[in-house]
């Protein structure tokens, strides 16, 4: 990803850093992240909790309190740099140009206001229309996200909706102003499997309909497999692998990505003891280990002659847009994948 003064991309992050000073030390939640995303495209950001994926997205929307978060780097959205933009400008874009679907719609929606009210409110911030017009729009949106009898449900409170319906309502709210960038943070985590599929289908359909850029944040590779054009794997506040969905699934090069694939439950695979969770725990973001952040958990760390624990690896392009942050030489990574990891994952 080259640095250039302007960008032709719809969304581009350049060396984004989001740090939180705390009493225990500086928490480097996002530490030098860059990526780009075009209209109509979908990016999946994958990582464990605490890897910085949600913090990144909140950063894009400018939702961090500037008093307790240190944000640096650049965020370009449709030609406008957001990090240095006045708060008011960013607020004007929120909801209108970029919108977010949150993880747990029960807590993310205000319990004291009706679904309709919350959508109406979102719509009327950016559209100077009467309440009744906004209400019609809200009913319309609820219908489009597949809520039956939207004209009646519009007056229900969030707690009167089922989990899936609530997520649909959340999506309706996010889409109410036709945002060009939509960020969905674990949109299906709280839902059961069948509903998950419905919601994912809905999001894909809507994205096509609105031609928006979509970022899906998840810890579950399965969710992004079908939806994403590209996938960004985050670990310890950094991007450790980036590539097309095909690349990530069929030619992953980072041991952490292998681990993620290994821990992915798949319907086409018997649950066996070969399902391999990644050992150990995600790194502390305060005392980041020297060298590669993944090295303490990496089964191949010993192959780099101490480099892994001594030096932070660079994100380097291995082939056609596929980037990996690993000290192992590309050839060695590929051979491990082909000979060691892939056969194990494909065993049925």
């Amino acid at each position: 990803m080259t640095v250039s003064p302007a960008t032709d991309a719809f969304l581009e992050l350049r060396d984004l850093r989001i740090h939180f000073p705390t009493d225990d030390g500086l928490v480097k939640s996002v530490d030098g992240l860059s990526y780009r995303l075009d209209r109509g495209k979908t990016l999946g950001i994958v990582g464990e909790s605490g890897s910085g994926k949600s913090v990144t997205s909140l950063g894009v929307l400018g939702l961090h309190n500037r008093r307790n978060a240190q944000v640096s780097g650049e965020i370009w959205l449709d030609g406008l740099e957001l990090v240095s933009a006045p708060e008011d400008v960013v607020r004007g874009l929120r909801g209108k140009k970029m919108a977010m679907i949150f993880q747990d719609p029960l807590s993310a929606m205000h319990p004291y206001y009706t679904i309709g009210n919350q959508i109406i409110e979102a719509y009327r911030i950016h559209n100077k229309v009467s309440k009744s017009v906004a209400r019609k729009h809200a009913i319309d949106m609820l219908g489009r996200v597949g809520i039956p009898q939207p004209d009646r449900r519009v007056d229900d409170y969030p707690h009167e909706f089922s989990g899936g319906m609530r997520q649909r309502a959340m999506i309706a709210m996010a889409l109410s102003c036709d945002p060009e960038l939509l960020i969905a943070d674990e949109p299906t985590t709280a839902l059961d499997v069948t509903v998950q599929a419905q919601i994912l289908d809905l999001m894909r359909d809507l994205q096509r309909e609105f031609d928006s850029a979509l970022i899906i944040i998840t810890h579950d590779l399965g969710v992004v497999a079908e939806l994403s054009d590209d996938i960004l794997v985050m670990y310890g506040g950094k991007c450790i692998e980036y590539g097309s969905t095909d690349d990530i699934f069929y030619n992953p090069e980072h041991p952490y990505t292998w681990g993620l694939l290994g821990s992915m439950p798949r319907l086409d695979r018997e649950p066996t003891d070969r399902l391999q969770p990644i050992k150990g725990t995600p790194p502390s973001l305060i005392n980041v280990p020297p060298g590669c952040a993944f090295s303490p958990r990496c089964p191949y760390g010993s192959r780099t002659g101490g480099l892994s624990t001594g030096e932070v690896p660079e994100l380097t392009e291995s082939r056609g847009g596929h980037k990996v942050r690993c000290h192992m030489p590309p050839a060695e990574r590929r051979s491990i994948w082909e000979s060691d990891v892939k056969p194990m994952l494909e065993t049925t």
């Binding site: 929307l61 607020r91 004007g92 909801g95 919108a99 949150f102 319990p111």
Partner: protein, 339 residues
């Protein structure tokens, strides 16, 4: 909803019965159990050199010779059906709710209570307006500017406000702002004008008591609001509201405050209910003839029917306030279902 209210009302009446029984027992049964004779109990309501004969007469007049249960029965009967009263040359009817006659001033209690209510009510309402506006306002700002100089200063003052007794702050304010030159700008103690007579004088005379009383409560409410706001502003739905592009002011008032308001409403209901039952210290300090002062004097004089009357009235206020709080709850928080 209607059944709910009816059920609550029945519970309220039972509650009042219990309160009245307990109060009655404290003042009428316990002394008897402790060995006081009817004459002995009556002797404190007659002159200082009264003969045994007088004490006996008084005991008879006050009904102390009856078993306590009968006395209680008569008391309740008086509340429900009214009572009759011998004033010397004739007999007078005390219509329901007859809360009895003062042992000391020989006046029916109920008209006294009605007479004192507007004072206490004026005091409570005015103070409540001030303390809710100021307390909640300061709490919100403190929460938003957590850790700032304003926050620390406000919370220190609030701590002082909660800790300082009214008879202290009240007298200080009187001395500083009513008597002392050159700041004698507020009314001195003991002045009250009904709002119906002259609203401006009404407010002028009550400003110091309002502020003093409000100071005490505002302090508590500021702390409560601050804590509530700190919690609420961390809620996911606040983030959602911001993500919609709402102005911060709207996020705070419409989304944050609304969420933090529930515990405040609860406390407010109780506080206000108790307060209209008598703001004892404030009324005493400023010599305002409200229910609180009435209660204190009744207790000092051992004037039991007055004590009973104020207690019951306060209980009614608290119960009603609670009921209103519960109903308000359902309005504020749609998740609360009344059934």
């Amino acid at each position: 909803m209607v059944t709910y209210i009816i059920r609550r009302l029945i519970a309220a009446i039972l509650m009042l019965l219990i309160v009245s029984m307990v109060t009655f027992a404290i003042f009428f049964l316990v002394p008897r159990l402790a060995g006081a004779t009817p004459e002995g109990m009556a002797s404190r309501y007659v002159g200082r050199t009264a003969s045994e004969e007088t004490a006996k007469l008084a005991a008879e007049r006050l009904g102390f010779n009856d078993p306590v249960i009968v006395q209680y029965g008569n008391y309740v009967k008086g509340i429900v059906f009214g009572a009759e009263y011998d004033y010397g040359p004739g007999v007078e009817t005390c219509p329901a709710p007859c809360l009895g006659y003062s042992f000391i001033t020989r006046q029916p209690v109920w008209p006294d209570l009605l007479d004192r209510m507007p004072v206490t009510f004026s005091l409570a309402v005015g103070a409540a307006v001030i303390w809710v506006l100021v307390g909640v306002g300061i709490g919100v700002v403190s929460a938003l500017k957590r850790g700032s100089l304003f926050d620390r200063a406000a919370m220190t003052v609030a701590l002082a406000g909660v800790s300082l007794p009214i008879f202290f702050t009240g007298l200080i304010s009187l001395v500083a702002l009513s008597y002392g030159n050159p700041f004698s700008i507020f009314a001195q103690g003991g002045h009250y004008t009904p709002i119906t007579e002259n609203p401006i004088m009404w407010a002028y005379n009550l400003i110091l008591p309002w502020v003093t009383l409000a100071f005490l409560f505002a302090a508590g409410y500021a702390r409560l609001t601050r804590a509530g706001m700190l919690d609420t502003m961390n809620e996911d739905y606040i983030r959602t509201a911001r993500a919609k592009g709402l102005a911060e002011r709207v996020v705070v008032t419409k989304h944050g405050l609304r969420g933090a308001l529930t515990p405040i409403i609860t406390i407010f209901g109780l506080d206000f209910g108790l307060l209209i039952g008598g703001a004892v210290l404030t009324e005493s300090t400023y010599s305002l003839q409200g229910l609180g002062k009435y209660a204190v004097d009744a207790i000092t004089n051992n004037d039991l029917p007055k004590v009973m009357g104020v207690t019951l009235l306060t209980a009614v206020f608290v119960i009603v306030a609670n009921l209103i709080v519960d109903l308000l709850y359902a309005v504020v928080d749609p998740r609360v279902r009344l059934s």
